[in-house]
């Protein structure tokens, strides 16, 4: 990258800079005209110069000028106007000039702003482009937050400076020079004095400001480090708290802030010292004029008129000069910042742009073998983690790598995956070095998956298809306003040196997934999700989500129809006790008392809490049903039990997660409440206390909590009271309960709750697994499976995929690799977060998935379980970074050495 900002700006904005200079020069004409005009208005029509006689007129706007040899040339002889008309005409001209000046200013500022923003866009893009081409080693060293700060904040002032980069010095320099020349004309010696002082200012001040620049650079570095540290604290908060090192971090941050403070304070000191000196020098010139000029005048060597003119002209000198020096300061400041940033991004060897060039067509299959030739890879410290390894993976061949952690197999796989670069030796496909081939070939024909997963924020489906988004494959047809906007986008992108790739285009390379278009891609997605055993997880995510039945009306009604099918199915399989269905006429033993009473779900929790406390409706219904007192006694019983169980536990104890009745802070509250209420009948208890006790009942589920409190009689009463809640609900509470209706989709409940329309029993430990399997089966047979799965693919995985578990992320990553048709698959222990049994199963699944198709790709797998190696054609065993054994499986099976290694 260009290291000097001014040259960078000149290279990219030369034409625009010249244009704006021209416009600025033009704008001077009306500007100076408007200076002269007020004097003419006052002297002419107002004070009456030239209108001495009543009725006398003046010529308005005669245009004539003198030309040598021709004499006077008159273009426009002007109009004769009276005094008042002249006043009006001149005022109008003044207004016109004001408008013209304003428009010039508006145009110039907008133009300069746009120029700056374009350059900013160009710099930022160039920096991100460089990040995309950084060599792997460098990426390990930099902190992401620091890079982000540089791209986001540190280059920002450069945009602001761009517009002024050349216009400002030209303009101000011109003004200062004019003033100086005027002084020189008036009096040579006084002019020389002024010039000397100006020279001193121009020499000393920037020199002094150099120290400021050094400090500025330090400020920038420390601030950048601070942002790196802050992001480290946020990322590592678990480790910090876990090791009780928060105070160490506090000390570190305080020390950094102290350093930043010192630097900033130093900057202030210098800044104002320089300012003081600058002002002093500016003021010392008039002093010299008065004293020396005055002396000359007294001596008679200088005429007083000249002296006054010089002093008058000098007024115009310090202003532009000061601004010029300020401009220079700004220039050096952004230059330092720019140089800093450029230094950070000038990394060698950067991946050549040609390697990452866009390629729309399908990549040709790789024909030769993938091989490491005398390959050595070193770690950050320079220690070799693999040494002189030569290993060839022929097309269609399957190779297992064993040797465990530190053996070197992982490092080899990383080198094949281009995550690390060789220290010596080469990695070749056929005869070509893998690093010389464009990524459009190696990035598509070689697929790599390891246990280090990066999941981008977005939907699960986006992440799954991420590996197919190589190039924009369709031309989007825009019409009307959108077309205009697209044209504008393209033009601006070009002017700022950005690529014009269309993000709205369909980037998914269906052919690369073996599909012909969006319609049959889904089958592929399903297949790979099945291979990595992720389908159930996604289905579970899908069925736990809520959908808007108004938007998905057809789906919602199909779900409602499924309820009957589920019942018939459970009956057929004699599993009816797995789910207790909601029946309007009977108590659901697996649901809470609250659910049974309301026979519905609460749509607005916060509002409900208020209603419970203040609305009389609730109490009336309970009383009428004969439940008021029963619930009160039951609540007391629950409170006693809970207080007994949880009294001794610290408030943040994880057991409180299992406590549904109250929060940990409420335990002491209920403890005192119990002491107050024990042995007192309900009619002697305040309304508020009674509610507090009664509400405990709502969360109670007999089979789960097992306090033995629910009797048949109570259940009957509760069921009877249901109707009151559905029919007798007062108008002001309408909509607060969404009632269970066997033939309606409940918007506030999840898909699975809508399917089940009941509660899974607590007794079967695998009850929910079985139900899930049955529901899945039903989805399949009713043709709803794909729709549900699609809801699951819409699941937002969160920043860095944090809403998924580590094993789900690794499965997703493997699926992302498998969905691409490649010639070589490199798996570097991709499933470390999973238990051994599942790992083995998925490994076998992947094998049969990849082997099932005719293309028969090569597989290189770094195994964590050597027992699986009999799936492969060959086993390469690594120890201490060396390849110690490379045998085909048939021969090695009888080999006792191998048995020892594999066991």
């Amino acid at each position: 990258m260009e290291t000097r900002l001014s040259r960078y700006i000149w290279t990219h904005t030369r034409k625009q800079q010249l244009w704006i200079l021209l416009v600025v020069a033009l704008s001077m004409v009306p500007y100076f005209l408007s200076f002269d005009l007020p004097k003419r208005i006052v002297n002419g029509p107002i004070q009456g110069q030239g209108f001495e006689e009543p009725g006398s007129t003046q010529r308005f706007m005669p245009i004539s000028f003198e030309l040598p040899f021709f004499g006077e040339v008159t273009l426009f002889s002007g109009i004769e106007l009276g005094r008042q008309e002249t006043l009006l005409a001149l005022s109008l001209v003044f207004l016109l000039l004001v408008i013209i000046n304003g428009l010039f200013k508006f145009y110039i500022n907008t133009y300069k702003g746009r120029l700056g923003e374009r350059l900013l866009r160009r710099i930022r893009f160039e920096l991100v482009d460089r990040v995309l081409r950084f060599p792997p080693k460098h990426l390990k060293r930099v902190k992401p937050a620091e890079i982000a700060t540089m791209i986001k904040d540190e280059v920002e002032p450069m945009g602001g400076f761009t517009g002024d980069a050349f216009v400002q010095p030209a303009l101000l320099g011109g003004q200062a020079l004019t003033a100086l020349v005027f002084i020189l004309i008036q009096s040579f010696w006084l002019g020389v004095i002024a010039a000397v002082i100006v020279a001193v200012q121009a020499l000393i001040i920037p020199r002094m400001r150099r120290r400021l620049l050094v400090l500025g650079r330090e400020r920038q570095l420390t601030a950048r480090e601070l942002s790196g540290r802050v992001s480290e604290i946020v990322d590592g908060i678990g480790t910090i708290r876990g090791h009780d090192t928060s105070n160490y971090e506090r000390a570190d941050i305080a020390a950094r802030l102290g350093r930043i403070f010192k630097i900033r304070y130093d900057i202030y000191q210098w800044k104002f010292l320089v300012k003081f000196l600058n002002n002093f020098l500016a003021q010392v010139t008039p002093f010299l004029f008065y004293s020396i000029g005055g002396y000359f005048a007294l001596q008679g060597r200088l005429d007083i008129g000249q002296l006054v003119a010089v002093i008058g002209a000098y007024k115009d000198l310090p202003g532009p000069l000061k601004e010029l020096i300020d401009w220079d300061q700004a220039r050096q400041d952004v230059q330092v910042k720019y140089a800093q940033v450029v230094e950070q991004f000038s990394v060698e060897p950067l991946i050549h742009p040609k390697v990452q060039e866009l390629s729309v067509g399908a990549a040709a299959p790789l024909s030769g073998a993938l091989a490491a030739v005398n390959l050595s890879v070193a770690d950050e410290g320079g220690a070799r983690i693999i040494e002189h390894v030569s290993l060839q993976v022929r097309p269609n061949e399957t190779v297992a790598i064993t040797g465990g952690t530190g053996g070197g197999g992982e490092a080899l796989a990383e080198a094949f995956g281009r995550l690390t670069w060789p220290e010596s030796g080469r990695i070749v496909v056929g005869d070509t070095d893998i690093h010389e081939l464009p990524e459009a070939i190696v990035g598509r024909r070689i697929s790599y998956a390891s246990s280090e997963v990066y999941t981008f924020q977005g939907s699960l489906g986006d992440n799954l298809l991420y590996g197919l988004k190589h190039a924009p494959l369709t031309d989007v047809a825009y019409d009307g306003d959108k077309a205009a906007h697209r044209r504008w986008e393209l033009l601006e992108a070009k002017l700022a040196g950005n690529p014009s790739l269309d993000l709205n285009s369909d980037w998914i390379d269906y052919a690369a997934a073996g599909a012909s278009g969006p319609d049959d891609l889904f089958a592929k997605i399903r297949a790979v999700l099945d291979v990595v055993l992720l389908t159930n997880d996604i289905l579970a995510l899908a069925v736990r989500s809520t959908i808007d039945p108004a938007v998905h009306a057809a789906f919602a009604s199909e779900i409602v129809d499924m309820r009957g099918a589920l019942r018939r199915r459970l009956e057929a399989e004699k599993l009816s006790d797995l789910v207790v269905f909601f029946e309007p006429g009977s108590y659901n033993i697996e649901a809470t008392i609250g659910e049974n009473l309301l026979f519905g779900t609460i749509t607005d929790r916060a509002r409900w809490e208020k209603v419970l406390e203040t609305h009389p409706f609730f109490k009336t219904v309970l009383k009428r049903a004969g439940l008021h007192e029963t619930f009160y006694e039951m609540g007391l019983e629950i409170a006693e039990n809970v207080v007994e169980l949880f009294r001794d536990l610290p408030p943040d104890h994880p057991f409180f997660q299992q406590l549904t009745f109250m929060s940990s802070e409420e335990i002491p509250v209920y403890e005192t409440l119990l002491q107050k209420l024990r042995g007192r009948p309900i009619d002697q208890v305040s309304e508020e206390d009674a509610i507090r006790i009664i509400r405990l009942c709502f969360g109670y589920i007999e089979p789960r909590h097992r306090f033995g409190l629910l009797t048949d009689e109570m259940m009957e009463k509760i069921v009877e009271a249901r109707r009151e809640f559905s029919d007798g609900l007062p108008d002001d509470l309408a909509g607060i309960i969404e009632h269970y209706q066997p033939n309606r989709y409940m918007a506030s409940a999840s898909i699975i709750d809508n399917v089940l329309f009941g509660r899974i029993g607590h007794k079967h430990t695998d009850g929910s697994d079985r139900i899930r399997a049955i529901v899945r089966d039903l989805f399949e047979s009713l043709g709803l499976y794909d729709k549900v799965l699609a809801f699951g693919l819409d699941f937002d995985v969160g920043a860095g995929g944090k809403r998924l578990t580590a094993s789900q992320r690794q499965k997703l990553n493997l699926a992302r690799t498998l969905i691409r048709l490649s010639d070589f698959y490199i798996f570097n222990q991709p499933l470390l977060a999973l238990d051994q049994r599942t790992q083995d199963q998925i490994t076998r699944n992947v094998f049969s998935f990849l082997r099932a198709e005719e293309r028969n790709p090569a597989i290189l797998w770094v195994l964590s379980n050597p027992a699986l190696s009999d799936l492969f054609d060959r086993v390469a065993h690594f120890e201490n970074g060396r390849l110690v054994e490379d045998k085909s499986v048939e021969t090695s099976r009888d080999d006792s050495d191998y048995k020892e290694l594999a066991s």
């Binding site: 007994e644 169980l645 949880f646 536990l649 994880p654 033995g708 079967h764 430990t765 238990d835 051994q836």
Partner: protein, 154 residues
């Protein structure tokens, strides 16, 4: 069966018999009551242990997979605890447990169990005592087996 019955049941298990009733009640409350029909697996050999089971009623076989197929090594019935080793020392399950009759059990999750031990050292001491008992028993059995083996060799 109510919470208090489960507490009674837990008290009959040597591992828990020395604990105060209030703690047993908490243990029971935080555990799940689960049912298995005959022929179901409580857990598989090789899985990561996430819970121990106190058998309230019913029977199950302890099976170990060998190259020659599943081998039954023991049988468990009510009032016994299974799977506690895996949740104490983080090893994979050493055997598969398959029910032979409908079985009702209390499922004690690993995290809850360990948390209880951390909160109530007296419980940890009690567990240690029981485990040490078992160890000395195993050791004496091993010694016996070894001397028997030596006799056979000689």
């Amino acid at each position: 069966m109510l919470l208090k019955d489960e507490v009674e049941m837990l008290r009959r298990i040597p591992l828990f018999s020395g604990l105060p009733p209030a703690k047993l009640k908490l243990l029971a409350f935080t555990s799940d009551r689960v049912m298995f029909s005959a022929g179901e697996n409580l857990f598989h050999q090789g899985d990561i242990g996430d819970a121990a089971y106190v058998i309230l009623s019913g029977k199950a076989d302890v099976l170990v997979s060998t190259p020659g197929g599943q081998l039954k090594v023991a049988e468990v019935e009510e009032n016994s605890i299974v799977g506690e080793i895996a949740i104490l020392c983080n090893t994979p399950r050493t055997a598969t447990l398959t029910t032979t009759a409908p079985l009702e059990a209390l499922r004690i999750r690993k995290d809850d169990f360990l948390k209880l031990l951390a909160d109530f050292p007296e419980m940890a001491v009690e567990i240690m005592r029981v485990l040490a008992d078992r160890l000395s028993q195993t050791t004496s059995e091993l010694t016996e087996a070894r001397s028997r083996a030596q006799r056979v060799e000689a």
